[in-house]
């Protein structure tokens, strides 16, 4: 009975196939657009090392940078092993 009423008064939004299409498209484009070239990823890594090294002493070989696509959102995930904290930023200027 409820189903019949829903049909009569229009179905709920999520049911409409256009919304399914939009959501699928959004997800697939997140993946497509994050296929960043290894060259750019490498350049990004180097820049990150440069910036972080101003503040921290890090293990450059252990640095990992990746894209993570979970729960419908894209994230840049970096694992950066810290060797030592630098006491003050100004000393290294």
């Amino acid at each position: 009975m409820l189903e019949l009423l829903q049909r009569l008064f229009g179905r709920d939004e999520a049911d409409k196939s256009k919304n399914v299409a939009k959501e699928r498209l959004r997800l697939v484009l997140v993946q497509d657009r994050c296929s960043i070239s290894p060259h750019i990823l490498e350049a990004l890594k180097e820049d990150m090392i440069g910036v972080i090294s101003k503040y921290l002493e890090i293990d450059e070989k252990g640095l990992e940078v990746n894209f993570n696509n979970e729960d419908n959102c894209l994230a840049l995930v970096a694992s950066i092993p810290i060797v030592r904290m630098k006491r003050t930023y100004n000393e290294n200027k």
Partner: protein, 265 residues
Amino acid sequence: MGEVIVITSGKGGVGKTTTVANIGTGLAKEGYSVVLVDTDIGLRNLDVVLGLENRIVYDIVDVANGHCRLKQALIRDKRLESLYLLPAAQTKDKTAVTEEQMKELCQKLKEDFDYVIIDCPAGIEQGFKNAIAGADRAVVVTTPEVAAVRDADRVIGLLEAAGLNEPDLIINRLRPDMVKQGNMMDIDDIIDILAVDLLGVVPEDEMIVISTNKGEPAVLDSRSNAGEAYRNIAKRITGEDIPIMLLEANEGIMALFKRLIGRKK
């Protein structure tokens, strides 16, 4: 000096060739001199859509390789004096022309024509690279489907990487009745996702099939809805400010009746 516009899509079958034929014819009807270039070497179609298939002597590969002069390969349209076609070769493949040759060809053509419209092959390989090599601006055609919009997104990225920034979008084969029911993505949905400027929306129209059967572009038919949309697109390309047609769902008597006695499933 004219302008070179490439019509591309990534995905096949969304209506690139039909769009090229109609925009080109529309521009020529407005009084501009136009040449349509078919770069889909090996799968030439634009000649058939324009009804010029029986007039081909030389093609784009002959011109690129110097087997004939450019003027010899250009075919004049049956209906409009200022419209010309440079056909693709049917027997060669996409590597028969280089990007350099395409740039040179476009340069020459835009000296003589107001608009050079390039019909790009589907895909993103060499044929695509050739087609966009000499272009000043790009138009991306898509349909309101997941696969077509996805490919359009990829192509927009590649166009921008090649220096063809801010391509315009044409949404083809929109069905207002399905949009109204919530069963087809709407203009705003697609523009929102692709983040580009909209050049026009062409409704699904049986007249396109009929006009393609006859080899007469729908833009010349005043009764065709799609033709009307293409006429507007042609005018927008020339810089006229024409609002996007608001497509009303054309429901017909039966649908109206069904709605009165109860909602359709």
